[in-house]
């Protein structure tokens, strides 16, 4: 490797790492440990027992402490890897290897964000507020608007303060709620609003977010979303649904185009095949027969879906497919049947005391390489970050999720 190539590689690594950390909300709101690999053990013990009595003698009660035997293995990894041909590299002004390095850093960052911001939703013992906590119907999402967003924040803060979260707090919202909050602040027109009215919200986190009543608000599209597709009738040839900008076409016969799902003999089988396709991030193709068959998504669409951590489930009795993603995405449909449609997507905001989640992002777990590929005039750009995150038992009352739509 020449000196010039070596310098370029170092530059690419530096830019990739910069993107990995600079764009990451999880890196700001969590208690981050960059030193440990392997297995980590619960760092938090119980609160101390206090004897609070009038003095009558010199004796006192000796308390005991407890430490949960939780542990966490740092065994998750986010990997980006692509082969860049020499011709492309040399003939494009773009500087394609540098570009891929920066994209890798940004993509891995977003993926880790999605994983961490999903933790409060899936961790047993962490509360989820819904409409029932706002004098509405339990189970329903709380409908956010520019007239109730203050309530959503205030009630959430009250809940975690009752769980002894006294330190500085954060809230991660999607673009929908940040719009509501901007609207609220614009309509109140007081001084606290000025900063947001002028500057908007931080979405690339390079410094502290915007503050509302002592809560630092960050906007991220990587919070968890769930949406239900009602599909009770087999689609008509050419019908489409769109998820995260990826259009999936139901067809009687696969045409060779991307993202097609064969219409099976029953709607239950068609829906099951769609769910299978989504769970594979649209990366798989399946040979066509009466009850099977779909084609892979385009390269761009596969990349989009790969970042979303999609978990789709099929429900034959309810005639629905439920899709949960580590990211807020748009949905639409063009289904002929008048009663088949998407439900209203709902999201989970994350509110907590800084550090209520622990993110392990070991420095030694990050690697960037440019590998020669035998038989190929080009090289493989490769980036990997080992990581894991958890909410330790003692911290479970210091944050929560808020189900909204």
């Amino acid at each position: 490797m020449s000196t010039t190539q070596d310098a370029r590689k170092k530059f690419t690594m530096a830019k990739a790492q910069e993107n990995l950390y600079a764009l990451n909300v999880a890196n700001i709101i969590s208690d981050v440990d960059t030193t440990k690999m392997g297995t980590v053990y619960n760092p938090y013990a119980s609160t101390a027992t206090i004897s609070n009595v009038a003095h009558t003698s010199n004796t006192y009660t000796v308390g005991t402490y407890a430490i949960d035997a939780d542990s966490l293995q740092i065994n998750r990894k986010a990997i980006a890897s692509e082969i860049v041909g020499s011709y492309d590299e040399l003939s494009m002004d773009l500087g394609i290897i540098e570009n891929r390095g920066m994209e890798f850093g940004a993509g891995i960052s977003q993926t880790i964000d999605g994983y961490v911001l999903n933790l409060p939703v899936v961790t047993s013992g962490v509360d989820t507020l819904d409409d029932g906590d706002f004098a509405g119907t339990p189970g329903n999402p709380k409908t956010s608007s520019n007239s109730v967003i203050d309530d959503i924040i205030n009630v959430g803060v009250q809940e975690i303060e009752l769980g002894n979260a006294y330190d500085r707090k954060f809230l991660v919202v999607s673009s929908y709620e940040s719009t509501d909050l901007k609207g609220y602040l614009q309509s109140t027109g007081n001084q606290v609003a000025d900063e947001i009215i002028r500057n908007g919200f931080q979405s690339k986190v390079k410094s502290i977010g915007t503050t509302f009543s002592g809560v630092d608000v960050y906007q991220s599209n990587n919070i968890t979303q769930t949406v239900v597709l009602g599909l009770a009738t087999n689609p008509t040839d050419g019908d489409t649904i769109t998820f995260a900008g990826v259009t999936i076409t139901f067809v009687a016969t696969l045409s060779g185009g991307a993202s097609e799902v064969h219409i099976a003999s029953t709607v239950d089988i068609t829906r099951a095949n769609l769910v299978e396709w989504l769970n594979a991030d649209g990366a798989s193709a399946e040979a066509e027969a009466t009850d099977t068959g779909y084609s892979a998504a385009s390269t761009t669409d596969k990349a989009t879906l790969s970042r979303l951590g999609i978990v789709a489930t099929n429900d034959n009795s309810g005639n629905t497919a439920t899709i949960t993603s580590n990211g807020v995405v748009r949905v639409s449909e063009d289904l002929t049947d008048a009663t088949d449609t998407w439900g209203t997507p709902y999201r989970y905001l994350v509110l907590g005391e800084y550090g209520f989640m622990n993110l392990y992002l070991p420095s030694v777990g990050m690697d960037y390489e440019e590998k020669p590929v035998s038989g190929t005039d080009g090289k493989e750009a490769f980036m990997r970050q080992f990581y894991n995150a958890t909410i330790w038992s003692k911290k479970k009352t210091r944050g929560l999720a808020i189900k909204v739509n």
């Binding site: 119907t137 339990p138 189970g139 329903n140 999402p141 239900v228 009602g230 309810g318 629905t320 439920t322 002929t336 008048a338 009663t339 088949d340 449609t341 998407w342 439900g343 209203t344």
Partner: protein, 42 residues
Amino acid sequence: MAKEETKKEEKVVLVKGSPEWRKAKQDARAELDARTNAVRQA
């Protein structure tokens, strides 16, 4: 007579894009939301 009653129970296919079709889509979404929330409450 019995034949006519059976006919009435058949699903009415609405014309795609018609106002009735749009209304049916809206109703279906509301019904789906209600059903989803009911399942979550259980």
